[in-house]
Structures are given as structure tokens and as C-alpha cells.
Amino acid sequence: MTPEILNTAPPLPWASAFRIGWRELRAARAKFLFVILAVAVGVGALTGVRGFSWSFRRMLLKDARTLMAGDLSARIFGLPAAQQQAVLDQLARRGVERTWVTETVTMAAAEHAPDPLLISVKAVDPRAYPFYGEVKLEPPGPLGEALDSHTVAVSNDLIVRLGVKVGDSLRIGGQEFRIVGVVASEPDRMTGTLNVGPRVLITREGLDRTGLITLGSRASERFLFKLPASGTPGVAEVRAILKKAFPEATLADYRETHPIITRGLDRSTTFLSLIGLIALVIGAMGVASAMHGHLQQRLDSIAVMKCVGGRSGQVIRIYVAQTLLLGLGGGLLGVAFGTLVSSAFPSLIARYYPIPAAGGVELWPAAQGIAVACLVTLLFTVPPLLSIRSIRPALIFRRDMEPEAAARRHRTLTAPFSRESRPPLLAGAAILLGTGVVAATLTDGGLKLALRTGFYFTLALTVGVAALAASAWLLLRGVRLLSGRAGARLPGALRHGIANLYRPGNQASAAVVALGVGVMFTLTVFLVQGALLRQIRASAPPGTPNVFLLDIPAEQRQAIADLIRRQDGVERAPDVTGAVAARITSVDGVAIDRLPLRDYGRRFLRTRSVTGLRERPPEMEILRGAWWKPEDHQPLVCVTDEAARILNLKPGSAVDWEIWNRKLHTRVACVERTESLRMSGRFEFLFNTGHLEQFPAIYYGSARVRPNAVAPLQRIMYQRFPTVTVINMADVMQTVEEVVDRISVIVRFISAFTILAGAVMLASSVAGTRFRRMREVVILKTLGATRGRIAGIFSVEFLVLGAVAGVMGSLLASGFAALILRRLMQIEFHFDAVSNLAAVLVAAALATAAGWAACFPILGRKPLEILREE
């Protein structure tokens, strides 16, 4: 039989649920502030990290565009046909700007100079070129005003070699040009054609005047494109259009200006999205522990509500509403905090380099942050919310008489992951799934990538939590056994502290899991960033050569090296490598001219410079195969991955050479990649020693010189060794090094931020057990324990907890870091014992300190005061 009132029972309207939930929040502001702050730190870390990543990417891409002087470059062989011109005009109508750059090599002479000089002429439209970056002139002035059809700007080495000065006249192709300035830096120096002679910048009209460019002359023609700021058409679309219209052209866009920058960008982007996810978990943990502690204190209120007629559904609704309010509050505060930090970001790192501040709050990421906050808060409150169902009103009613009932009631709510909370296993699965979904949502890129990220993320979290829970269980067993055996012999505080760990109602296993997850993620970030930084640093280590010497005769090697070493401003002694001219005749038995080589690939038909090396240079990475051993006497070569791709070479492939009219048969030993700027990185083929020594060689050198000392060096080199060409890459290297520095600073900064957030979370997860501590303090005090003794007991307990969480967390962190580095970033991983040990110590110290901070205020109070507050 059903009483009639049950059929007419109205559900609790959401408005009422929110009202009741809100009242509770308002009443205990300080307590809830803690929960809101926990949510806020998590959300702040998330939005902050995402904010940094955005500014960072924007900044790096801007640098990358500068190195190309445009968004896209198309190197063409021959002038565009009518149809191709139509495509270019069509793009121009869509807002794609373009400028035409021609580079060629010719001779120049000056009135007083004894000999003419081989120069590298670059004809540009100074009104458009460069789209990004700037051509710096000495005396300073805009390129557009300085250059006209009768003037040129020249590099410093031309000034040195021809003995001219600004204002003098220069004769190119029989025409006179006035020198208006010295080119101090040129943004796309590195992406242009390799410049053999001093640079001369000239206008298109000026170049036409020289009559150097006629049909069939050897000039390199290049179009630079600048895409509209609106973002459409995008770089991929324009690239595809150009690829179709100019099938033979070599296309490059700003994402691939320089291997160091491309790889740096890729790896740091991967790293940053990883950090974003980790910030999410750390934040979620904070939310979970705060909400758990919060609901635990609401047990009595819930029981009372049930006594006065509240149904489980109604009570759950009230607390869902309250959770949402907390999530919303934390989300808003977190987004504000994150926005603040990311807009303060430019000034934080202004010491290293200036970047313009991002304008205002970006709505979409902010909304995303708040939604994530609410969702995560709700997800992590599912287990305690569900256990509201099992709170029986009778328990409170009887509490005064039946203490064991109260104890039972306190066990009904346990931490989300503890062994005792078996019913919320399903809820646990929901949490993992939900976090995975959030992780997937936050992943930039396609659906497939998002799903994969979500999946791996969930998997990592599951494995981590399971391993931690298992080890916590083992620990408690072990400790119990130990204290059972040696119990009586241990000092009192130690015995009690250890006994505290497995006492019923203690959440030791939950605390180990929470702390361990925190240590795991924080240390993972630390280890990954360390390896990433080492890798990035190694690609452009301090002292990377920035001056290159070409065509050094064998007999002058020593003299040149000595001369350079004596110069001011030389930071690194010159490094001289001999090169032998060699030509490939066949690959795997197929004659080279029968191979389908196109465009730039046709260079392999001609003579190439090759060199011999005994040891593998430290910055070289072997992609396939292995470097040779000293006892390998048969001729072996190691090839760059680009050459290997074009010629379809793999370890074991046979390559036949013709060197100074002699045949040499070699096998490919390895495929390598060298990202740093070294002489060895400029050879596509490296031979093992003992095979090239018999041939005449030309020597190349490289040195590290302070940028302002390059000009004097060029001058003295020219006076003493006029046949040696000195190439000044100082300005380009400076840009590359700056980018590398930026990447390092940002990676370090964001990691530090995440690690700090992690530490705060660790502390708060321990502090979250404050409520439980209160009861213990009261009971111990009532039984006559002194404050010192209680403090001792707690210290032992926290130390053991922290140490176990630290050991497990750091082991897991090493595992995950290895996985991330090897799989996602292709960086080698080495176990770092010092960091692991430090993590254990820090976890133990942090657990103790946080436990202390939480318990200290209670220690000084009278037992009755606390009992009354309950």
C-alpha cells in the first residue's frame, strides 16, 4: 500500500536546491574559501598554462616568420608562365601579398680596388621586402628610402675586401651604383641560397639596369608570400594551391625555417599540452580532496535533513547545486588568476626579451576553463555524493547512545580511491572516463589525436592510481606486521605513529594515493623539462660557430687557425675540417643518372663535398644503423636523413663513388641528423677514417666570434689570406640562439609554475584531513597525551606516508617520463637518481609540514571546545 502523499510529492526544485546550497556556503565562508581556492589553483594552472602556450607559440611563430621574411617561400626554376601568373594574381585578390626576390652571383669592382670581387647579389622590392623582420642598415634608415635604382647596400666584408666606404661607388655589370649603407642584418639570410660572396642588396630596377639576368642565366628566383591577418586562406591552403600551380618549385613555410626551430617548436608544443593536462589533474586532485573533506563535515547536516523529511534525491540535489556553485566560484577565480598570470607573463620575462602583452580576457578559453572547473569538481564529488544515499538518519539519532554507530557512520564516507569505498568503483571509473574526456577536449588538433590523448591520459592515470593503491595496501600490511613483531621495543611516539596508519578510519591509503599522484605528475614534469632543455640546449650550445671559413688551402690550415686564435672576441678556437670532392656513380648498383631525381635532388648528380670522421660528434643523432668502430676497415659512410630519403638509402645500402678518378665502393653504416650548426653538420656524407686521406682536400673552418668582432676578423683575414672566404652568420645565429633561449625560459617558467601548483595541492591534500585530526587530538588529549607527544606521533605518521608516496610517485614518474620522452619527443631518457631521491625527501618533508600546519592550530585548543564545535 502506498500512502497518498507519496504520489503528490513534488521534487525539490533546482532553485530551492541552489538556495539551500548557497546558504551553507555563505555561512562558513572561511571553510569554503579553501575549497574554492583549491579549485581556483587547478583551473588557474590550466588556463594559465594554456595562455602561456598561446603567447609562446605566437611569439615563436613570429620569430620563425622573421627567419623567412615571409609566411611562405616558393623557389622557382624559371619565371612563371601565364597560367601560373594567373594563379598568383588570384591569390593576390584573396589578400595574399607576394614579393619577388632574385639572387645571383657576379663580380663587382671599385675604383681603387686592385681586383674585382665575387659578390652575391640579391634583388628585392624594398617597399615590400621583408614582410617580417627588418634589414638593418648602418647608418640606420629604412631600406625603402635608402635603395633606388642607382644605389646598393653591401655587407661589411665587401667594404673590407674592396677597401671602399659608404658613399663610394661600386661597379656591377658595367653600371655604377652608390653604396648607401652597410647591411648589418638581413632576416632571411639563412633560408636564402648559400651565399658565397659578400652580399649586395639591390632593387629590381637596379638589377635590370646591370643586364645580368638574361634568359638561361643562373639565378635563384624566389617568391615570398605574406598571408592575410584574417587567417584565410591559411598556410596549408596556399601551399597546396602553389604546389599544384608550380609542381617543380621548392616550397617552404615558416614552420620549417630551421631544423632547430622546427623541432624546438614541435617538442615544446607537445610538452606544453602535456603540462596543461597535468595541471588539470593536479587541480582536480585538489578539488577532490577539498570536496571530500567538505562533504565529510556535512554528514550530520545530511542526517538531520533526512530526519526532517529530506529524501536522498533531494539532499543529493542540494549538494550537487552546492558543488556546482563551488566549481563555478573556483572556476571564475581560477580563470581570473590564470588570465592575470598570462597577461603578466610578458613583463615576467621582459628581462629576457620583450613581447607585446596579449589583449584582455579571451572568452572561449575562459568559458572552457570554467566549464572544466564545474565538470571536474562534479566528477570528483561523485563518490561522496553517491554515498549520501547510505547515510541513515537513525545513526545521528542514536549517536549519543551508540558510539560504534557513529564510527560506522564515519566510515561510510571515504576517499575516492580508498579500498574501503568499494561501491564508488563505478564512480571511480566515471571519474577516469570524465577526466579522459576533458583531456581529449583540451587537446588541440584532430578528433583522432584528441581521442588518443584522452585514452593514454586515462590509462596513465589508471595505472598510476592502481599502482599507488596497491603499494599503499602493501605498506599498511607491512607496517602492521612489523609493529606486531617489534611493537613493544619501539619508542612510544614511533609505535603510535605507525599504529595510526592502520587504525580503522584512517585514510592512509587514500592519502598515499593522493600524494603519490601529485609526486608522480610533478616529478614527471620536472624530468621531462630537464631532458627537453638539455636537448634544446644541445642543438645550439653556447659557442656554436657563427663564422665560417671556406676554401682554406691545406698548407695555410695551421697559420689561419693560429691567426684566428689570437684575435680579440674569438670565443671558440677554429675547428678545421678537410673536404674532398667526390661524385656518386651508383646507388645499390643503379647508375646515379638513372635514379628519379628532381629539383634539388639533382645536386647528387654533381660533385659533392665529403669528409672523414673518426668519432661521432656529440650533437649528432643516429636515426638508423650504428656509427663505426675503430676496427671497421672497409669503407663506410654515414648520410644525413635528407640525403637518405632522396637517394633511398638505408644501413647496408651500397654507394659507389668516383673520387679524383678513382673508384671507391662504400656501404651505408648509418643515417644521422645533426641539428646544430657545425661544420660536420654541413656534409651530407661522412666517411670513416682511412679512405679519404689519400686525396687532395680543401679545408673548411668554423669559429665562434663575438658579433662585433667579426668585421675586424674579416679585415685581417682578407689582408693575410685573400683567397679564404669568411662567411658571417653571427646575426642569424643570434636569432636562432635567442629562439632557443626563449624556448628554455618558457619551458622552465611553465614547469616551475606547474610544480608549484603541484606542491600546493600536495600540501592541501594533507591539510584536507584536518577534520579527522581534530577527533584524534581530542581523544589523545582526553587520554592524557601531551602536545609534544601528539606532535611526535603525527610526525612519524606523516613522514612514513610522505616517504611511501614519494617513492612510488617518483618511480612512476620516471616510467612516464621515459615513455613521454621516447615516444612523443624522441629524446633519450636516463634515470635520474638525484631527482628521484630529492622527490622522496620533498614529499616526506611536505607531508610533515602540511600535516603540521593543519594540526598545529588544533593542538593548542581545549578538547571540549572542539567537541562542542562538532
Binding site: 502523499i5 541513515r392 539519532f397
Partner: protein, 204 residues
């Protein structure tokens, strides 16, 4: 362990029954059963003519909200709600929160705490807290009022004030009152005494 052993008890509408007995005799358990806070292993309980032993937890909660007012020994006000909001809560849970505010104020006036309606439980003395609990118990005009040692935590003068107030309100509402107590002075006001010992009714 059997706490109550074969009790056959009938409390008619409008009666004031006092349950007495030594500690552990099963007084509070009996009260809990009457309120549907627990279910008996055997037997049947009828409340206001309705069989309640087979009702689910949620249905019981609903029934409690409509039919039973509670007064506890340790008040059990919700610490984060003000006096008025504590009184309002049962009405809101029952779905008539809007009209409830004036009723809540009226009840607080009735227990003499009209001026203190915005105070939180910690800001009230024990006697005041118990008076708020009284107002809450009567919020939904329950036909039945259950009280578990309502004066047990109060000094005798305050206890007397609370008891008098409870009896007066009970008369005004015409509710059935079942009260668990240790105190002879409280029991002496009752229409009927039920004395428990070792889970059995020894006198009624």
C-alpha cells in the same frame, strides 16, 4: 542482539506518552522505530493508520516530513543555517518554501526568538537552540511529535522553560507526543508512562 523483545504498544491520537527506563533499555531504539528511522527485524509498525515497516528509505523520509516532528537531546540544528533557515528547511524540502518564511517567523516568535532569527546555532545558548529545534519540529503541523530527552542537555530551569513551551505548542497543535526521558519531573506531566527494561515494557 535483540534490543526490543516483543513490544505491543498502541498510542492513541493526541496522547502525551513518556517513555522511561534505564540506559540501554531500548528507549531510543523504540523512538527510532516509531519514526521509521530504522526498521524492526520482526513485527509491524503503524503510523497514523499507515503501515510503515515496508516503506523504502525515501518514502519514509517523505512520510516523516509530513507526519513527524523531531526534537533531539543535542538539538541537531544545521550549523551553517540561521535559526530562521533551520525552521524553513523542512518546509522547503516538502516543496512549500515560498510561503514558509512567514510561518518560520511566526514559529520563532512563538518560541520567543523572533529577534534572533538571523543568528547561527553557535551564537545561541543551548536552551535557545532547543527552542529553534521546537519551532522546526512544528513547522509542518505534524500530527506526531517525537522527542528524545529534549531537556537532557539543559539545566533544570532552562529545561523547564523548554518543556513548558513544548507542551503548550503540542496542545495548540493537537499533536500526539512521544517523549523519551530520564527525569521524573518531565514524566510526571505525561498522560501515560511507558517503562522499558531490557527491551521489554514493564509498566504502562
Amino acid at each position: 542482539m535483540d534490543i526490543l523483545k516483543g513490544i505491543d504498544l498502541d498510542i492513541p491520537r493526541g496522547q502525551f506518552a513518556a517513555i522511561m527506563g534505564p540506559s540501554g533499555s531500548g528507549k531510543s531504539t523504540l523512538l527510532g522505530l516509531l519514526a521509521g528511522l530504522d526498521s524492526p527485524t520482526k513485527g509491524e509498525i503503524q503510523l497514523d493508520g499507515e503501515e510503515i515497516t515496508s516503506l523504502s528509505e525515501d518514502r519514509m523520509a517523505l512520510l516523516r516530513g509530513r507526519k513527524i516532528g523531531f526534537v533531539f537531546q543535542s538539538y541537531h540544528l544545521i550549523p551553517t543555517l540561521t535559526a530562521e533557515e533551520n525552521v524553513l528547511l523542512p518546509m522547503e524540502l516538502a516543496g512549500n518554501g515560498n510561503g514558509g518564511r512567514s510561518r518560520a517567523r511566526e514559529l520563532l516568535e512563538r518560541v520567543g526568538l523572533g529577534a534572533r532569527r538571523d543568528h547561527y546555532p553557535v551564537q545561541l545558548s543551548g536552551g535557545e537552540q532547543q527552542r529553534v529545534a521546537l519551532a522546526r519540529a512544528f513547522a509542518l503541523h505534524p500530527p506526531i511529535l517525537l522527542a528524545d530527552e529534549p531537556t537532557g542537555n539543559l539545566d533544570s530551569a532552562t529545561g523547564q522553560v523548554v518543556l513548558d513551551l513544548m507542551l503548550a505548542m503540542n496542545r495548540e497543535q493537537g499533536a500526539t507526543l512521544v517523549l523519551v526521558t530520564h527525569e521524573e519531573s518531565v514524566a510526571s506531566c505525561a498522560d501515560r508512562r511507558i517503562i522499558l527494561q531490557d527491551g521489554l515494557v514493564v509498566s504502562q
